[in-house]
């Protein structure tokens, strides 16, 4: 028996992807998977893609989770703190929700509402110094999916001084699984197919997280729902603060990374190439008309944007090889 793992919120899309990754992980053994309204249901009735996995969903209470060495929380925003509070301090936790990502309480109240639960180690290993912090942590707050894609594109540009942190403009499009599995009319296939639809324009809750992670001081982010099940494509632009090659800054930052890839010059990231993987693809240029830096980032919102990243963090927390159970390669076409 390897490391005993529980997944809370296993009936959602991130939960399903976690179960898929864990089923192929050599060291993590799923001992419990819980779901609010689906408790008692066989997992394959909820996730037919897991046919062949024999597992029944349980109730999301601390009792069912405390028995584990590692708990993934894939719950709606605002629900993680209550569950985490009842888990023993010895249980390691990776929270895929937003509850523990922010250092400051003020933006939490402004964008999410309610009381700020606290701050855990931010789960983006590719940020400078962050990998060591995660290794030493009992509790890790996984990045948001938009935050992962934008931070990986932007952080090295600001850190290197190439990009002006006071003038960052982002437009990022996401596949529908990022919006969750709730039955809503605007997420129906009839509404989404053949359609691009912006939402939360001018005030998205990931903005403070991205500013905190990148050092940006002013950031406009417009999210768009795109007609595809998975993937985020983020176009990040910033005023150039000094001359320099943005590709070089990215190359320097990610030279030794297994999952973050600067593509060969002239080849631009596209989301399908990252589907099902834990990879993030990057490319950058200088706009010929405006002189702005443009960085484009692609990843799988359920992979490097959620479940894959969570497994990567858990690997670090348990001293396992960081890439264990994760794929660098996308499933395409």
């Amino acid at each position: 028996m390897g490391i005993r793992v529980a997944v809370a919120g296993a009936s959602g899309y991130a939960g399903g992807e976690l179960l898929r990754l864990l089923a192929g992980h050599p060291e993590f053994d799923v001992v419990a998977a819980t779901a609010h309204s689906q408790a008692g249901t066989h997992v394959t009735a909820v996730h037919p893609q897991l046919t062949g996995l024999d597992l029944t969903l349980g109730a999301t209470d601390a009792a069912g989770l405390s028995d584990a060495d590692l708990v993934f929380l894939a719950l709606p925003h605002g629900q993680s703190a209550a569950v985490a509070a009842h888990l023993p301090a010895t249980v390691k936790i990776v929270d895929l929700g937003a509850d523990f990502r922010l250092r400051d309480a003020e933006p939490w109240r402004k964008y999410y509402g309610g009381e700020h639960a606290g701050t855990w180690t931010y789960g983006l290993p590719e940020l400078p110094g962050q990998r060591e912090l995660i290794k030493a942590s009992q509790r890790t707050a996984n990045t948001g999916c938009y935050a992962a894609s934008i931070t990986l594109a932007l952080a090295p540009l600001i850190a290197s001084g190439l990009a002006d942190p006071a003038d960052v403009v982002v437009v990022a499009s996401s596949g529908t699984s990022g919006a969750g599995r709730g039955a809503k009319v605007n997420l129906l296939a009839s509404e989404v197919m053949g359609d691009l639809s912006p939402y939360k324009v001018g005030a998205h809750q990931h903005v403070p997280e991205i500013k905190q992670a990148t050092g940006a001081s002013s950031l406009s982010m417009t999210p768009v729902l795109a007609p595809m099940p998975r993937g985020i494509l983020a176009t990040v632009t910033a005023t150039a603060a000094k001359p320099g090659d943005p590709r070089q800054a990215l190359a320097d930052a990610y030279r030794d990374e297994a999952f973050v890839h600067l593509l060969p010059e002239g080849q631009w990231p596209h989301t399908a190439a990252t589907a099902g993987s834990n990879s993030c693809h990057l490319q950058a240029t200088i706009d010929v008309d405006s002189g702005r830096i443009i960085v484009v980032s692609a990843l799988d919102n359920l992979g490097k944007g959620a479940a894959g990243q969570a497994v990567q963090c858990a690997n670090l927390m348990f001293g396992l090889p960081e890439t264990m159970g994760l794929s660098v390669f996308g499933v395409a076409p």
Copy 2:
């Protein structure tokens, strides 16, 4: 018999949409439709959606077109000038290509290459004063599809002094029909479905056209290919040059327009709502974090972005009601 109309380049997507609109137009009668490699083919073999229309494609030469009162040129960029040169001055022409859009030769050479063919009346009736110019024209250069969506969003913001013309950032996603009907691997359904793919990043040929039409002095535009057959969604942001409500500027500009609609506050444009129509939907806000103006624009790249706009211009050129044969309403879902 009404006004005699010919369509050159009828086998492409814009050509097919023109034929569909013209088939329902009370005054325009198609007397010729030409296509390079498909000459001699019945139109329904190329456009099965036109089943019921009895028309055989002819060769694209001046002889087949000169007999018309009105010619639509839906040819690849760079081919319109040669055809137009052989048409009698009495024939009115609407060119859907880029050849005659730019006032200056320099950006033409920079972005398209080769010699600049000249400048015709710019075919965007909703620009101030432009409607009267089109009415008086024998030759009109239809807007590009990206240019239409971005110009309608941006021009009133700059004209009103609200937006800084020196700091405009655009990310615009287009359905695949905008890329034409050429058989290319990157346009295959297997490549496109489930995928978002940026292209010509940092140097798109529509930039000078948009700057010319809007008064922007610096404009970064990133185009993205989206997995849908039709539609453009443009997110246009600009530094606010002075306090003011961007919605008011749009409302003032388009109050009396039949095809350009500022949506009710809080409702954002999405492409599917404009599919098959000649409408453009707009919405605007001020970003809470950066203070930038954000305008989002949606239209059908084959409708208001190409064939619909061309018919609207032609209506004006012949003194017909501007909305004749065009639909305000989209086909959705």
Copy 3:
């Protein structure tokens, strides 16, 4: 003022398509559009594709509908009878639901449950003799969308004696709008995109309607949900009862029809070519291995399968040209 029209159930997809068609109809004027939970809402908040139409949804009660000369009922199955019962006999009605389609009460109870409401004139004008019956009717029961596509393909084959009515096998795939606008997890874009999903296998409620309309005595129908918003593609096969050309039977049946088209030999129907139109495309062959007759039928489930067909019937009921306000041509790509 033309003919006064009301639409009950205007917030659904068929209701929205009805409003779109009626907005362009020269004789029908919408005086009321009702919706259960959306009463009081402006129609463009529910159907953004109708932006430009000034109409507020009302409550679905007889009072709001009785004032009309013509009422379209686009209600969930089982709700039409109650509304119809309260309308004056002088009001003409086209019911898009299933309530009044079946002649026999027994299959109604078996497939739909509850009491059978009665039988109205079946609204498929292209069936032999049916056009005259519709013209003379005050009340018409529109076909189901699957029933329209399958009946148009099959009826002439059985009527001509070419197909054995005792051995019909159908597989028909539908776009998602056919499943309605209810917020259900299985209809979410995340579930549907990239997916084909059969449902109600072995027992679909349209089977008795199709048998009644075609004369088939045994019919296996497997419906499949396809990742597209509109369209039905029906593959209808039957044992050949005698030698003969199935194309000839279709040509004979539909020679004078405006909306039903036998395609040129070798060209097969596909759904996109019919999107937004009231057309049905057909093709047939004899299978080289089995000798079975194969007929393929394509139409728009919201067009010839629902709203378009309803307008076609209404045109007949009011002595108007049958094609008024309807398009033969699809919106493609």
Copy 4:
């Protein structure tokens, strides 16, 4: 160093999927990957989803392949024989093409044209006795993708005597990757999205292969191109030859299989649940109206329908665990 593997035809979709699977396979090491027109190109320029894999495509000649212990041929139909003829007898080969699947020359000439190359062991391990034959083979002919999905559904029904082999009707829809990566207009995203399109109706070249593999004596198969990149959904119906439960026949046939799953009663296969996996999902019922047996089968045309199945066969040919390097679980949504 493990077993040395070469992939011929590595630039296509099946070739790319093979490389993805082989990159994660513990025993197979790719030493060469060849491609006709792309020779000299880095693999990630052709397959960006493989970013992180360092491999340059070579020319498809025997020299580049002979050095391997195992060669996968993923070439267009008709090209495998010429390459295979130049490989040493000691090299094991799995051919993903059709060249060596048929026992009889006559149907080859009828459906494919040209000379019949010969007959290799048929690569469907789940057929009775076939697993042992594959283990003993140097050369294996992988099934076609349609053939895999239909044979797995049908063979046990005929073998058990439940289904009449003389009356089988199949409609099967495939994702676009099944049509290959050639740049053709009918495969463009603009044509395919929102569309269902039948092709080769009445005469598909997989029919003789399916008859040979299942024992069917008469089979009508209608293939349909569906708007999704991967997946085949086959609806297989047959007259019941005797009373009996079709589910029981499937359960008996596949009880011990790792990759072929009879779903729980009432749950129907859908393609997305198998994407990226080597699994095939099955369900069956008796049609209430016609009494026909209906079996529905879903698989990934690039997985169990091509590359996955090829790896499964190769595992057997080398005495490795049959499931090595393959996933039972799909990537969904």
